[in-house]
Symmetry: C2
Subunit: 288 residues, 2 copies
């Protein structure tokens, strides 16, 4: 059941992304290149599954859900730039600026971020108050207090040894905030109660931390081909990670604790939250 539901969400997401009105020019091409270049689609999946958990129809929030993927993709394009992390590869393919050049990559990121807000404000959704709330929340999660702030902190922490607390603060901002708002978006737009939205928030916060711990573990135990990026790069860069601070065993324990926390947050829901429950297990066991 889990796999089927996941596949159903992925199909909806890919169809929505590919069917957006992409023009035939270099800007659209560069945006599309990074957007359709694979990826786990975890943010829109979280949004769709959260909408379903509160009894809504995920079909109705699809454009808002894929907006989250546009924001995530823009952040990857900018993070990969030479002035930032200088990564030549992303998801096993050349990064955007290696294909289109730096100027185009910066602009592709800018355009993806801007387009995301157009989709969030989509008139077909017909829920102006909920949409405005979501736009505010997404902007906060993606902006200076959230994702962009986290990237600044991450760059500032490079080459320094950080404490577990410092690492957690960076992750909460850099990746946690957008993951959390993804679940909230689904719950809010589908008309969930405040209690349900709060439960989705707790769930997604734990899931986001679990996701990051698993990333750190995979950097050590994964193989480069499955990961689509070089394994062991954290280690080589002397980066402080959950594994470097807690050891593999300790990190795995932390991971499991977060998974349990995520699952227990779902107790307020009925069987419609089964997918979210199983998604947590999937995060714990994923190979890439």
């Amino acid at each position: 059941m889990f796999k089927e539901t996941f596949q159903r969400y992925l199909t909806m997401i890919e169809n929505t992304l590919t069917q957006l009105p992409w023009e035939k020019d270099i800007l659209n091409e560069s945006m599309y290149y990074s957007l359709i270049g694979g990826g786990k689609r975890i943010r829109p999946v979280l949004a769709l599954a959260s909408a379903e958990a509160v009894g809504g129809n995920p079909e109705t929030i699809l454009r808002a859900a894929v907006a989250l993927e546009l924001i995530h993709t823009y952040s990857l394009i900018h993070d990969d730039l030479p002035a930032m992390d200088n990564d030549d590869y992303r998801r096993g393919r050349l990064s955007n600026h290696k294909v289109f050049g730096e100027a185009q990559a910066i602009l592709a990121g800018d355009a993806l971020l801007t387009y995301a807000f157009e989709l969030l404000a989509d008139s077909d959704l017909g829920q102006p108050e909920r949409q405005l709330r979501v736009i505010r929340e997404v902007a906060v999660a993606a902006g200076k207090e959230g994702m962009v702030g986290g990237q600044v902190a991450d760059l500032a922490g490079e080459g320094k040894s950080l404490t577990l607390n410092e690492i957690e603060e960076i992750h909460k901002a850099k990746t946690g905030a957008l993951l959390t708002v993804s679940a909230r978006l689904g719950g809010i737009l589908a008309g969930g109660t405040e209690d349900q939205v709060k439960a989705l928030t707790d769930y997604a916060k734990a899931l986001g931390l679990a996701f990051q711990i698993k990333d750190d573990i995979l950097d050590i135990v994964g193989d480069s081909e499955t990961l689509g990026k070089p394994a062991g790069s954290d280690l080589r860069q002397g980066k402080s990670t959950y594994v470097s601070l807690l050891g593999l065993e300790g990190a795995a324990q932390q991971l499991h604790a977060q998974i349990l926390k995520a699952q227990s947050s779902l107790e307020v829901f009925d069987e419609r939250a089964v997918f979210l429950n199983q998604l947590a297990l999937y995060i714990e066991e994923r190979k890439h």
Copy 2:
């Protein structure tokens, strides 16, 4: 009267910008540096004056109006980057990346763009349907069909000789779209009729073109100190401009024609549009 009204708008805009909740960290500092570094504030001024022209109170739309300045500022920061126009100076001061470094400048731009949408969705405005419409329009004007698309076209046109039509298409996208949406934002949020919003659109389109023609003229006849940037740079770069294609006289005629067009678009309004009328003259006569 014109000067007093302009000053009243500028004071409102500067107060709003400086009183946003800026944190004391490097990201906020870098955003603030470029935002408060001067500039004509033409976009928020257009928004406030348009709100007043349709009989609204500009005070109520201030946060939405300054969001336009955030978007304009982000675009300047990214345009100045070494990978783009590689400008060391902006508005007579060092450009953002010369002060904060490239990575920080990219992120400051990203955060300004994101913050703009947070402000556009501000809950105090209390006009969810109008706000959503404005968010969609701003996203289109600032995105791949508008400002970002125009910058891509501008970069692609570098070193080529362009026709007047091609130049106009680039300007319409790169600067015209955001100027036009600035006037529309004021009209829509303040509850203007569709006829009024249409008149504001025609006005701003002509004004935007006039603004650009004047820029091209000032590049030839202005002095560097007043401009806050090196005069004659278009000429040295062999750029196609209104002046290079029409001559100084021809460009001045075009400029004047656009000013008349802007002014005649205002005929549907009463005396509350006097400021917009005089703003057109100010654009024609400005020295920087």
